[in-house]
């Protein structure tokens, strides 16, 4: 079994490398590879000043590592998908599940095969933070990180299996997550009650300094009930933080115990494993078959679920552009799953928290308003990268889109309008809520009327900003379909990192180019408003209008250009080339 796994890993790696090298004959991949190499050189091997000491982590680092690990696990349980990280390829399914192997051997095979990428990830991660020097203490870090990654991957695998198993037994995704939330709440109560008792001491320690605070937190984390809850996490991160090999060896058994328990948990959960793996492999096989036949693969299939009521009914007659935008809004709405209720619940908790503050509510409102503004900004700047129900998703149905009796510009406009609508509404809602919250505050130097002006200016500029960022993302998908992630499959390799960097750099450059004329126009309009006697912050309103009109004009030109590009291009040929 071990020999077969090693042989498969070795040959697969060699052949994949050969194929990637062959791909470098295409100039864009060669450029991407060169940029990727430079990137790695800059990150790892560039000459730089050596840090003074070894920087051996203390208990503060351990506390931080525990908190980080706990956060990662909580996020996975709350928002993770039901797709197992141990997804089998169609070939693995065909050969392993039909071979005279037990289910456990199949699982062992998959686990063994997953170790090489995990080990390489550990090496690269440690190299990134060590300036390319691989000393004995760095080897400890590599081994420690490898243990953490292995345990995390098995934990993810179990979590995915548990989710799928519960779904198959009729528990809806929301109920399932509510159960997990209940467990997390119990854990949170244990953590909170433990911390509350220790809070005065912790506060005093943090007043002394972050180092003392973290040390005190480390001590608290290992006491009483909290110590029991935290022990598995602490056991897992301690080898990673060991100063030398001797200490590493003493800490290793506990970490191995945690990894071993995860392995047992994974094996025990494997009743559903085979079914899940085969199903996943079949889905993958269909996608691969579609790619090989020159067509785009069908979108990843999800488990059957009832449709949420649509956000507005689509009239049978009307603009096709609005129909495409409507379709994408429904995809965001119906695809948001449990995230939306969780975000709403967090919002309610925040409001309840502010209301419970009593005399100190002013500070709470200030924090809340600031958070809302930050969220609005994130919706505008980062939202277009997160919401991908536009061409980035629908290029998987490229042939269907191209068969519609629509001009390319109509398709592009409709596709982009979906996420733009969602993000604009979210940003507007946050801005309005922040404004509403600010009404309860006395802000010297920023009277209510000025806040109204700021709200209007921001509200006017938001959609134009979102349109530009979204169009840039869609342009990248249309221009470089092989470089942009479409659907769940992500290409790997040094050259792909370089290509992604190029894409990101290109996006930033395009944003800059788009905003320069708009900002100039806005500045001119603000100046004219000033000359015309418009007061202070109110000048921002005509400025925002100038900015929006300019960006809107640019967006129209971009849509027309992308439309022509959509009509002419053939991504299947691009990808097969």
């Amino acid at each position: 079994m071990i020999g077969a796994a090693l042989y498969l890993s070795r040959r697969s790696l060699a052949n994949a490398t050969r194929r990637r090298l062959a791909r470098l004959r295409q100039p864009k991949y060669l450029i991407g590879f060169a940029v990727g190499l430079l990137y790695y050189y800059w990150l790892i091997a560039r000459p730089r000043a050596r840090s003074g000491g070894a920087g051996l982590p203390g208990s503060g680092s351990e506390s931080l590592a525990i908190l980080l690990l706990a956060t990662i696990l909580a996020i996975n349980w709350l928002f993770g998908s039901s797709r197992s990280p141990f997804a089998f390829t169609p070939a693995e399914t065909h050969y392993l599940f039909t071979a005279p192997l037990t289910r456990r051997q199949v699982l062992d095979f998959k686990l063994l095969r997953s170790q090489l990428p995990l080990f390489l990830s550990s090496v690269i991660s440690v190299l990134l933070f060590s300036g390319g020097h691989l000393s004995a203490s760095r080897i400890v870090r590599v081994l420690g990180l490898w243990l953490v990654f292995s345990a995390l991957q098995m934990h993810y695998g179990v979590a995915a299996l548990v989710r799928q198993s519960l779904e198959e037994h009729g528990v809806t995704a929301v109920r399932r997550r509510l159960g997990v939330i209940a467990v997390l709440v119990v854990l949170a109560v244990v953590v909170a009650s433990s911390l509350r008792r220790q809070l005065p001491g912790l506060q005093a320690a943090f007043v002394e300094g972050p180092g003392a605070g973290l040390d005190a937190l480390g001590a608290v984390l290992h006491q009483g009930a909290l110590g029991v809850v935290v022990w598995p996490l602490a056991a897992l991160v301690r080898p990673l933080l060991a100063p030398d090999l001797a200490v590493f060896a003493t800490r290793l058994p506990a970490a191995v115990l945690i990894v071993g328990l995860h392995y047992v948990w994974l094996v025990r959960s494997s009743l559903a494993f085979e079914e899940v793996a085969v199903e996943s492999a079949e889905r993958m096989a269909r996608r691969i078959a579609a790619w090989r036949s020159g067509r785009r693969p069908p979108p990843p299939e999800r488990r059957a679920q009832s449709a949420r009521r649509p956000l507005g009914r689509l009239a049978a007659v009307g603009s096709p552009v609005r129909a495409i935008a409507w379709k994408n809004v429904q995809a965001e709405w119906r695809g948001s799953g449990v995230r939306l209720p969780v975000i709403i619940a967090l919002g309610v908790v925040a409001v309840v928290w502010v209301a419970s503050l009593g005399s100190a509510a002013g500070t709470g409102i200030q924090v809340l308003a600031t958070l809302l503004l930050v969220f609005a900004g994130m919706a505008v700047v980062l939202g277009p990268y997160v919401l991908r129900n536009d061409l980035r998703a629908d290029l998987l149905l490229w042939d269907l889109l191209k068969s519609y009796p629509l001009r390319g510009a109509e398709v592009v406009a409709g596709e982009a309008l979906g996420p733009v609508t969602v993000l604009t509404v979210v940003a507007w809602a946050c801005l309005l809520a922040a404004f509403g919250a600010s009404l309860a505050l006395h802000l010297p130097g920023f009277p209510v009327l000025d806040r109204v002006a700021a709200l209007l200016a921001a509200g006017i500029a938001v959609p134009a900003f979102v349109v530009v960022v979204t169009l840039i993302q869609n342009a990248a998908a249309l221009l470089f379909p092989a470089w942009v992630t479409l659907g769940p499959a992500r290409a790997a390799g040094v050259e792909m990192i370089g290509q992604r960097m190029l894409t990101m750099a290109g996006s930033l450059l395009l944003m800059l180019i788009a905003f320069i004329p708009a900002v100039i126009v806005a500045a001119v309009v603000v100046a004219i408003a000033g000359v015309a006697g418009v007061d202070g912050v109110w000048r921002a309103v005509p400025g925002a209008i100038g900015l929006t009109v300019t960006l809107g004009f640019e967006a129209m030109l971009t849509v027309a250009w992308l439309g022509r590009l959509f009509e002419r291009s053939d991504p299947a040929a691009e990808l097969s080339g």
Binding site: G294, R334, S403, P405, S576
Partner: protein
């Protein structure tokens, strides 16, 4: 009417289709057959406007696909072998959406009738995930038929269907041709071609090898007299 003149598609140095010319009249069902890699899919994808031909012209209902793609596509429906559906639209919403794209003015009235005809009425509010393979296929057909296209293209239409589904699919193809649609059917299933198609176009390595009724094709090759369609096909393509 579908008219193809000198259709050529090159992928770099690879010739996918070379100088292909043929016509499909209203009421005709043309079977497009050929071995793997012969150029069938490329031909179909060119006819739908998914792939831009390197050379040649395609006319759908008298409208040139290159000069008036929107007008040409309005008269066309393409049924790929794998139903292409949106994850987050229900059955009924797919039809409404398609109605908007094809500007079907009476879609509101047509949708319930089409849902009943294709036995999808009970699943009107279901997402694609909740549908069986056959139902997904039916939905794709419903979307294709909503605008009453004058030209229909089917790529391996029986893939994944059960016997009852296959029968319904064949009936749909024949019925649409009877109503005056020009139909092209690409398939490896020679018995389907023999049963449904009025003419056959044999393509091999991107080139037209033979076109006509089965009798005409066999008639042009005395050595193939009395042979089955499968033997004729193998002899024509040298496979």
């Amino acid at each position: 009417m579908i008219a193809v003149r000198g259709l050529t598609k090159l992928y770099g140095s690879l010739v996918a289709v070379e100088d292909l010319s043929f016509e499909v009249a209203p009421g005709e069902v043309l079977g497009l057959v050929g071995p793997n890699g012969a150029g069938k899919t490329t031909t179909l994808r060119s006819l739908v406007g998914i792939v831009q031909p390197t050379r040649g012209s395609i006319s759908i209902g008298g409208r040139d696909l290159d000069r008036d793609p929107v007008g040409a596509k309005r008269q066309l429906a393409f049924m790929p072998d794998e139903p292409r559906l949106f994850d987050y639209l229900t059955v009924e919403e797919h039809l409404r959406f398609t109605g908007r794209l094809y500007d079907v003015r009476d879609a509101e009235a047509r949708i319930p009738a089409l849902l009943r005809e294709l036995e999808l009425a009970e699943k009107a509010g279901a997402l694609p995930d909740e549908l069986s393979r056959g139902m997904k296929q039916k939905l794709a057909i419903a979307c294709g038929l909503l605008h009453e296209p004058k030209s229909l293209l089917f790529d391996e239409p029986l893939t994944g269907l059960d016997p009852a589904g296959m029968r319904r699919m064949k009936q749909t193809i024949v019925e649409r041709a009877r109503q005056g649609a020009a139909v092209i059917l690409s398939s490896h299933l020679l018995h389907l071609v023999e049963e449904v198609c009025t003419r056959v176009l044999v393509i091999h390595r991107g080139r037209l090898v033979a076109i006509g009724t089965i009798a005409e094709i066999v008639g042009s090759r005395p050595d193939l007299q009395g042979r089955s369609l499968e033997e004729v096909f193998l002899a024509l393509t040298g496979t």
